[in-house]
């Protein structure tokens, strides 16, 4: 450690103004503060808000909270692969297969994303922000395991440039960059992002094996293929990090205990989703309806989704993952405390409504969060306005 510190101190003057590599100052700064706590302090005099929890610590907590979902995702990728091919494998073979599938995805997102962040910081002469550390971890977790690497690279580049840097970098973005990357993949390369064949690693499937996700099965009325327990523990096909509600909840506990994520947003997403799904259960359209062409009763997708039990809704698809890691993103969610309740409730409700009423988009969570990201500033605006009006009235009444 000491040798490293000495080395950094030795090369530092090269990167300071007037030094040989002056232009690479922010890259150097990025690496230095990554390795060591900065030794600079504020000038004496004046008031400064001091807090040990800065952006770097916040982001690291999010990354740590994602670890359970990541590890389980790796195991599940291998598990689904061997389940599909019908081979038997030991725990370590299973995990190893998933590890080797997921690791390249992680590396590609980090290299592309951080590369762009570094060069933009360089061009602007700013310090490098840590925001991408969490985004780069989120992107691999919300894509199917066998999505081609170059697609992930293109999507990551698109989201970092057009959803983040264009708006001014970390903390200034309107939409969650990880979700923009997924939305880009979803609309640009739909054949690789949805359908029956994308959720497993390469290989021939055994006969009679269906590869649909729990959500698309629910759309055809097959609720029983994956039980609530399987879906809760995560042994179902789906995006890498999204399948296990349990692993996600472990991360959620960490986020809530450290205060990095707001419990108001998180809980209200679950409440909004549960209530909407429950209402659909009670008053939704019938599962079967008469097909006028054949004259037979057939299952219709809207009715089938509407009658998926509300508990199931919360544990399948990306609902849990979105509620815990995406909706609570402090940059893109509401900033007022009352606003967080409204924001969360609407995300939960919208996600279920999109799932049920639009069978073309089986995963409504991504679209619901992006939509509400757009409206978050508006919600804040009205809440701040109402507060101002209330206080004005109070002043008037006291006069």
């Amino acid at each position: 450690m000491k040798a490293l510190r000495n080395y950094i101190d030795k090369v530092k003057p090269n990167f300071m103004p007037g030094g040989k590599y002056e232009k690479l100052r922010s890259t150097f700064g990025g690496f230095e503060t990554f390795l060591f706590t900065p030794n600079t302090t504020n000038q004496p005099g004046g008031v400064h808000v001091r807090d040990a929890v800065d952006l770097k610590r916040n982001i690291i907590v999010v990354v740590l909270a994602l670890i359970p979902a990541l590890l389980f995702g790796m195991y599940n990728t291998g598990y689904q692969h061997y389940h599909m091919t019908g081979e038997t494998a030991t725990f370590w073979e299973t995990f190893g297969y998933g590890f080797l599938t997921v690791l390249p995805l992680l590396i590609v997102t980090y290299v592309v994303g951080l590369g762009i962040e570094f060069s933009v910081a360089q061009m602007r002469g700013e310090e490098i922000n840590e925001g991408f550390l969490a985004t780069g971890m989120l992107i691999p977790l919300i894509v199917p395991a066998d999505v081609p690497l170059w697609m992930v690279a293109v999507a990551t580049a698109f989201s970092v440039i057009f959803a983040k840097e264009v708006f001014g970098g970390t903390g200034m973005n309107i939409w969650n960059p990880a979700l923009i990357a997924r939305a880009f993949l979803f609309f640009a390369y739909p054949s690789k992002m949805s359908g029956d064949s994308v959720w497993y690693g390469a290989g021939e499937a055994v006969d009679g094996f269906t590869g649909a996700t729990a959500l698309s099965l629910a759309g055809s009325g097959n609720y029983e293929t994956y039980s609530f327990n399987d879906a809760f523990l995560g042994f179902i096909p789906g995006s890498i990090g999204e399948t296990s509600a349990l692993a996600i909840l472990i991360g959620a506990v960490l986020l809530l205990c450290t205060g990095v994520a707001s419990w108001k947003t998180m809980c209200s997403v679950f409440v909004g989703g549960a209530v909407t799904a429950f209402l659909f259960n009670q008053f939704g359209p019938d599962i079967e309806c008469l097909n006028p062409e054949t004259g037979k009763m057939e299952i219709n997708a809207v009715g089938a989704m509407a009658h998926l039990p509300w508990m199931q809704h919360l544990v399948i698809g990306g609902f849990c993952f979105g509620a815990v890691f995406m909706a609570t993103d402090p940059v893109t969610s509401c900033r007022t405390e009352t606003g967080k309740y409204i924001f969360g409730l609407l995300i939960g409700a919208m996600a279920i409504i999109i799932r049920v009423l639009n069978p073309g988009y089986p995963e409504g969570m991504m679209l619901a969060i992006l939509l509400m990201n757009t409206f978050a500033p508006l919600i804040d605006h009205f809440i701040v306005g109402r507060n101002i009006a209330m206080r004005k009235n109070r002043v008037k009444a006291n006069k």
């Binding site: 081609p148 880009f184 640009a188």
Partner: protein, 210 residues
């Protein structure tokens, strides 16, 4: 002769192509720029149609400008534009039926293209026919230029072809390349227009806000 190509006239023609482009600087005509640019061919036809219509409407209104009563000028302008649009639409149906089917309502909607009414109100009502002609052609070509750039990228990346001919070789598809479906949707056209504006502002100091 020198009067015909005076500095002012040159500016009327050249400015819309560059520093005063109707799409990227005045942000007019965005709707059709998103709608018809999924392929190059309809984009070019649309560009030519708008150029012809703006140029002719500019000349006609400029000739009439002293006799049009001020209170009904918008109606007169609309009548002129609508007649020209109908003529162009009929010509396209007669001689380029396939493209006119592809462009569908957007030829008719040239009437609502803000560039047209903008040029008529801002330029043709105050200037003579020759200047108005130059201004109309300049604005039409400035619009066409942006349409063609956007359509080039959208068709190349979205369908892998240009003018309907496949450009991306088959071996690329076999190696795993997939056309970008988002390029065929309107949002991506907006992003490309945004990139052009970005590039233009980065290279033109006058356009940068303080």
């Amino acid at each position: 002769m020198s009067e015909l190509f005076s500095k002012k006239n040159k500016e009327a023609f050249l400015n819309p192509l560059g520093s005063n482009n109707p799409v990227t600087v005045q942000v007019l005509g965005i709707c059709s720029a998103l709608a018809v640019t999924a392929q190059l061919e309809p984009a070019i036809v649309m560009g030519i149609s708008v150029t012809v219509i703006v140029a002719m409407a500019n000349v006609i209104i400029s000739l009439l400008r002293k006799t049009i009563p001020n209170r009904i000028r918008i109606i007169v302008q609309l009548v002129v534009v609508a007649s020209l649009v109908t003529i162009v639409s009929e010509i396209l149906k007669a001689f380029a039926y396939d493209v006119s089917v592809q462009l569908s309502v957007y030829i008719g909607l040239i009437i609502t293209n803000c560039i047209l009414m903008g040029r008529l109100e801002a330029f043709a009502m105050q200037n003579g026919p020759w200047e108005s002609l130059l201004d109309g052609i300049g604005n039409g070509l400035g619009y066409a230029k942006i349409l063609i750039i956007v359509a080039f990228f959208r068709e190349l990346l979205g369908s892998g072809s240009l003018f309907g001919y496949q450009i991306i070789p088959n071996c690329a598809y076999e190696a795993g390349y997939v056309n970008n479906g988002l390029m065929l949707l309107a949002p991506m056209a907006l992003v490309i227009v945004g990139c052009i504006i970005w590039w233009q502002r980065a290279h033109n100091k006058d356009l940068q806000e303080k």
